[in-house]
């Protein structure tokens, strides 16, 4: 402190102090040494010239007492260098901030005339702690929001497990395992190491080997998050790619909706600190969210598996060529989130090429799942009536009786067609039961209506129909369709029906097209006509005589030849 006397005992004008006009006389007022804040004077080289008592105390105390009072912390030395390096004469340079001992200070410099700098230290520890805590709370809230929305984004069980494992490895631990309830004797396990992808495995193991896993998987008795001894872990718990020794492990149940959705195992390496109570609480919250998400995904997949199974028989069949005749169908259900509705079609192949193939397209009153269930019954009934299929009137009479005696109050309209290839031509017998007659697209572009009509089924005590016989030359098509097409409402003016005239006009342009292109075009025109408008179920089915004949595939002509239409 040999140089202390070089520092004039002046009131230094500086931020935070009222500036007194200084006329050179010795101050009689309070000096900077009396300031309640630590104040240091450093010479241009950074050595301590002087310090007031709070500063001395601070520098001495910072190493738990006994530290050298003339060594300033490095951040202040750096700040001092940057202030003294600048040649400018600004009285106050940039302020700095840093830790001294366990406290945090902001340092404000004032340059003195001789080139030394007086540093005023302001204790900001409280504010700093509040800010840090606010920051971490914000961070946690952000993480929780992200975790929640990401966990809830998928209704796919494996995907949910992936997301849970990856998020847990990212935000809670160095590695995480999601163990789901067993399928048979194997446990689906999804693990992730921080920064890596989630990996699925199906494992067979004894859950009793991991303390707490049995309880966590059963969800009973209710157990809190549990610490496990890393030394007792079976090998499968430590994922591949986790090459450091395991330091701490906790296991927590994934509570689903009333039942356990699985267990979450978190691993931290020995170089990381163990889980704090705060982190354990977050892990429990995370497990609750993940459990709910997994549980919802499991319910959804169970329900959709049931729906898929029940609906399989209601879906329209895929059509292809049969016995030398081309069949193509297309279906659009009334609402976009359904796949089935009140329209249906089926093609029942004849036993061989000499036998007729039985085609049916129909429309049950109403739409949606309820109508679809009735289409299933009608389709089953018709399937059972296949041995009688050559007699359309008898089939329809039997179906009518079955529908009248069932508890359904709905009725249906149908078109039946019996189709057989004869040489290069295709012969059809078609019968409409209250349905729009099929349209026949001739090779030359004429569009004809099959001359059939009849009463609908399921409404009247008896059925009367008239069957038409038609012959398709190569390249010609018979189109069966439902009124969803012609009654599509929309168009450029927004409120017109598509109508039969527009359909016929469109079919004129379809002359010579393959059947699958025709049904697609008709559905496309109707869909474009509709725009975004509401619509009924729309079904189209084309029966076509192929244009080109593969020589190997020519069908022998069977049955009576001379039948005329």
């Amino acid at each position: 402190m040999g140089c202390a006397q070089r520092v004039p005992e002046l009131v230094i004008p500086s931020p935070g102090f009222p500036a007194h006009p200084c006329d050179g006389r010795v101050s009689v007022g309070p000096s900077w040494k009396d300031a309640p804040y630590p104040v240091l004077v450093l010479d241009p080289s950074g050595a301590v010239l002087d310090a007031n008592p709070p500063a001395r105390l601070l520098l001495t105390d910072r190493h738990g007492g006994g530290g050298p009072p003339d060594v300033v912390p490095s951040w202040l030395t750096d700040a001092h260098r940057s202030v003294t390096d600048t040649t400018g004469t600004t009285p106050a340079g940039p302020s700095a901030a840093g830790e001294i001992g366990d406290r945090f200070f902001e340092a404000h410099p004032s340059r003195l005339e001789d080139g030394s700098v007086m540093w005023w230290l302001v204790d900001g520890t409280g504010r700093r702690r509040a800010e840090t805590s606010l920051q971490s709370v914000r961070e946690q809230a952000r993480t929780r929001a992200l975790v929640s929305s990401t966990l809830l984004s998928s209704l796919n069980v494996p995907r949910c497990a992936e997301v849970a494992a990856q998020l847990a490895a990212e935000h809670l631990a160095d590695a995480a395992l999601v163990v789901l309830p067993p399928v048979g004797r194997r446990y689906p396990v999804t693990h992730a190491v921080r920064g890596g992808p989630a990996v699925h495995a199906s494992r067979q193991f004894d859950p009793r080997a991991v303390a707490g896993l049995v309880e966590a998987l059963q969800g009973f008795p209710p157990v809190p998050t549990r610490w496990i001894d890393p030394g007792s872990l079976p090998g499968w718990v430590v994922p591949k790619g986790f090459d450091r020794p395991v330091g701490s492990v906790i296991i927590t149940p994934l509570p689903g909706h009333g039942v356990s959705a699985g267990a979450l195992i978190l691993l931290r390496s020995s170089t990381e600190r163990a889980f704090s109570p705060d982190e354990e609480a977050f892990a429990r919250l995370f497990a609750a969210r993940a459990g709910a998400a997994l549980s919802a995904a499991r319910l959804y997949s169970e329900q959709s598996a049931i729906t898929t199974t029940l609906m399989r028989d209601l879906l329209p069949p895929t059509l292809e060529s049969l016995h030398g005749v081309e069949y193509a169908g297309r279906y659009r259900a009334a609402s976009d989130h359904e796949r089935v509705g009140g329209d249906f079609y089926d093609v029942h192949p004849g036993a061989d090429a000499s036998k007729e193939t039985f085609v049916v397209l129909g429309d049950v009153a109403g739409k949606g799942l309820e109508a679809a269930v009735l289409t299933g019954k009608i389709r089953n009934t018709l399937h059972a009536l296949l041995p009688l299929a050559s007699d359309h009137e008898q089939v329809l009479t039997l179906l009518n009786g079955a529908l009248l005696s069932s508890h359904h109050t709905r009725f249906a309209t149908l078109v039946l067609a019996s189709v057989r290839r004869e040489g290069h031509r295709v012969r059809l017998r078609v019968t409409s039961a209250g349905h729009m007659p099929p349209l026949i697209i001739r090779a030359d572009g004429r569009v004809e209506e099959a001359a059939t009509h009849g009463t609908l089924v399921g409404a009247l005590p008896s059925v009367s129909v008239r069957t038409a016989e038609e012959v398709l030359a190569p390249g010609e098509t018979c189109l069966l369709y439902t009124d969803g097409i012609t009654e599509a409402r929309g168009g450029p003016l927004g409120d017109e029906l598509f109508g039969e005239d527009r359909l016929r006009q469109a079919l004129v342009e379809c002359a010579g097209m393959p059947g699958d292109a025709i049904v697609e075009r008709v559905q496309m025109l109707a869909a474009q006509w509709l725009g975004r408008g509401r619509h009924d179920d729309m079904a189209t089915l084309a029966v076509s005589a192929p244009r080109t004949v593969p020589t190997a595939d020519v069908v022998g002509v069977g049955g009576p030849h001379g039948r005329n239409t």
């Binding site: 990401t150 997949s301 959709s304 976009d336 342009e509 697609e520 869909a527």
Partner: protein, 360 residues
Amino acid sequence: MSETRLSPAELRDRLWQAVLEGSEFDAVDVVRAGLDAGWDEEGLLLDVVAAVQTKIGLEWAADRITVAQEHAATAINERVIAALVHGPAAGRPAHPYRGRVTVTCVDGEWHAFPARLVAEVLRLRGWQVDYLGAQTPTPHLVAHQHHTNSDAVLLSGSIPTHLPAAHAAITACQAVGVPVLAGGRAFGADGRFARALGADAWAPDARGAAAVLEAGLPRPMAARQAVDDLPHLVDQEYTMVVQSRSRLVKQVLADLESRFPAMRGYSDAQRERTAEDLVHILDFLATALYMDDAEVFTEFLDWTSEVLAARGVPVHSLVAGLDIVAEQLHDFPRVLGFVREGAARLRGPASDAVVPGTTV
């Protein structure tokens, strides 16, 4: 490659002849001959079948083939693909399983051919592909993601008017944690619309799509707000044009008839064609508003005038229609800007005449 290998041009010519004649068997023979000559399936799909499909579209636009021929040719080409990829796999190198993806068209999109090609190429390269085809309602697409846990959705769009629907599909897939790779003409030659709609990636063709998938497509983690993608929608001009489309069409038709007496003699069918043209104009205008990109509109007008010219229809009726649209929508600055640009494009570069009704 070997000396005996058939050139792509030769195969394309032969396939083009076969599809034009509607001969499925000849067409399949062409690609079988290609396989025998040492071509692999991917090369045949992309360098022969796809090229012929492009030609089908161009020939239709130039009025050299009819709509029926176009459909028939496309149907034959589809069957060629089926024969090619479901044929004997002899000599086909076995790829390791790469993952599972969904290939689909945008809701309302009927041009499924490009998506089909992408699906088959990815299958050949070892991906498990769920091909949902044309006109896939977005709810089906999302439900499919819940069922299958796809690594990615490949979304194909050909017609720009489906871009708003594509936006809905992109955000829906991302919301369930599946990244979306967009492709097809609708997204722009440089993919700028795919970026604007927040797609995770864009690819110019099937090989590009395969490369993106092979490089790995990270999953979107945080839910994105679709409204942030297109801040200009706040002016509601898109919504207004879409909602008043039918009313606008009726109004423009009535105005055209009062200005052009010749139109009063139109048959119902002719009137309907005109109305349909107006619907197309308004749909593309609405899409331009949605994307805030005038080129969506002007490119459509360029294409339309080419198609009309090929069929000997004068373009001035289009210009007159645009003029009336501008009068009807004069309160909407973005609409007006796009309509002006469109009208200027139709009049040709020499003309800078003001569109009537736009001087406010």
